[in-house]
């Protein structure tokens, strides 16, 4: 065909025939297990103000691994990346702009 439609530009005519290898799947599973153990261990120790940021950082790392490899985003067209990023960005808008109200309530004007 002389004229290409959008989906052809990104992934070709047939389904995206990328088959992720078994080693990758098991490797990611192992990583997720390690991070789960790590997050439980970190919560057993008192790290002061750092407990929550560490727990969140580990959770974000786990979620990123699942999104990129289990959900195949790493081999997906650019549009999928945009959709994923925009979703979390908009959630960020909700958090940032609303906390911009709550966290500045006690600031005095004078």
């Amino acid at each position: 065909m002389a004229h290409k439609t959008d989906y052809e530009d990104h992934i070709g005519h047939a389904p995206a025939h990328h088959v992720t290898s078994l080693a990758v799947y098991f490797g990611i599973f192992f990583l997720l297990m390690v991070l789960t153990v790590l997050t439980v261990a970190a919560a057993r120790v008192n790290l002061g103000v750092w407990n929550t940021p560490i727990a969140m950082a580990i959770a974000i790392a786990k979620a990123t691994a699942v999104i990129l490899w289990f959900m195949h985003v790493i081999h997906s067209p650019r549009l999928t990346w945009i959709v994923v990023i925009v979703s979390f960005l908009w959630l960020g808008v909700l958090f940032v702009l609303t906390f911009a109200d709550y966290l500045t309530r006690h600031w005095s004007m004078y």
Partner: protein, 238 residues
């Protein structure tokens, strides 16, 4: 003049008709009539699922925002509430759910490589692990309700100091609300899995046509991700 005067023939004169028709000769049984080919159908369905997950991210996100706000307001009560959770069961359930994500991902692989029986088996394993997760969750709910932690008129907290009790009730609203919403998604996912087990056994899927399993996987992994965040936020507050 075209044979039917009320239609314009818009197909470009330069298009070679042979090409067009060759592509249409072997219609896959699951190719829907309004798509040109399976590639387009696959691309449309995965994009559709990702957009659905966008709505899910913002749906759960609003709940997480409420959680963050009240945790910021009542840190003591949140700590007390998390201490009423059984972190061993929570950890076990996390492992079970991540395991189910692995079997789901492997099921997609098995479908892509034309392994019909293995696909069915892996989907069934995913369903079993999901059910185990829900069973453990039900046990935990039962415990909490017996201890009087269910918010509302049945809330009967004798463990915490009176000053903390309203805050712990607020925590419990978020605990039951967020895990409950998550469990509803698990139940819907389990229902979908039953449907796909039947289709996989029937031999619908293979390297040409595995889009529906892929899309099912996206949903299942998303539910897993929600739990990845819920686990430290509800069970592991130091």
């Amino acid at each position: 003049m075209p044979s039917n005067p009320t239609y314009y023939n818009l197909a470009h004169p330069g298009t070679t008709e042979g090409e067009e028709h060759a592509a249409h000769e072997h219609h896959h049984p699951f190719l829907q009539h309004h798509f040109e080919d399976l590639g387009q159908q696959h691309a449309a369905s995965t994009l559709g699922m990702w957009l659905f997950l966008t709505t899910e991210i913002l749906f759960f996100g609003a709940f997480f925002f409420g959680y963050a706000l009240y945790r910021n307001m009542y840190p003591e009560a949140w700590r007390a509430g998390a201490h009423h959770q059984n972190w061993v069961l929570g950890t076990a359930n996390t492992i079970v759910l991540i395991g189910s994500s692995l079997t789901m991902a492997l099921a997609v692989w098995a479908a892509q490589t034309n392994r019909r029986k293995l696909t069915t088996l892996l989907l069934a394993l995913t369903l079993i692990l999901g059910t185990v997760f829900l069973g453990v969750k039900a046990y935990e709910y039962n415990e909490h309700i017996h201890e009087g932690f269910f918010p509302g008129s049945h809330y009967h907290n004798v463990v915490d100091s009176p000053a903390l009790r309203p805050g712990v009730q607020l925590f419990m609203i978020f605990y039951f609300g967020m895990t409950g919403m998550h469990a509803v998604h698990m139940i819907i996912g389990a229902g979908l899995l039953l449907y796909f087990i039947r289709r996989a056994w029937r031999g619908d899927f293979g390297e040409e046509y595995y889009g529906p399993i892929e899309v099912m996987g996206l949903y299942w992994h998303f539910v897993d991700i929600v739990w990845i965040f819920l686990f430290p936020l509800l069970y592991l507050i130091h």
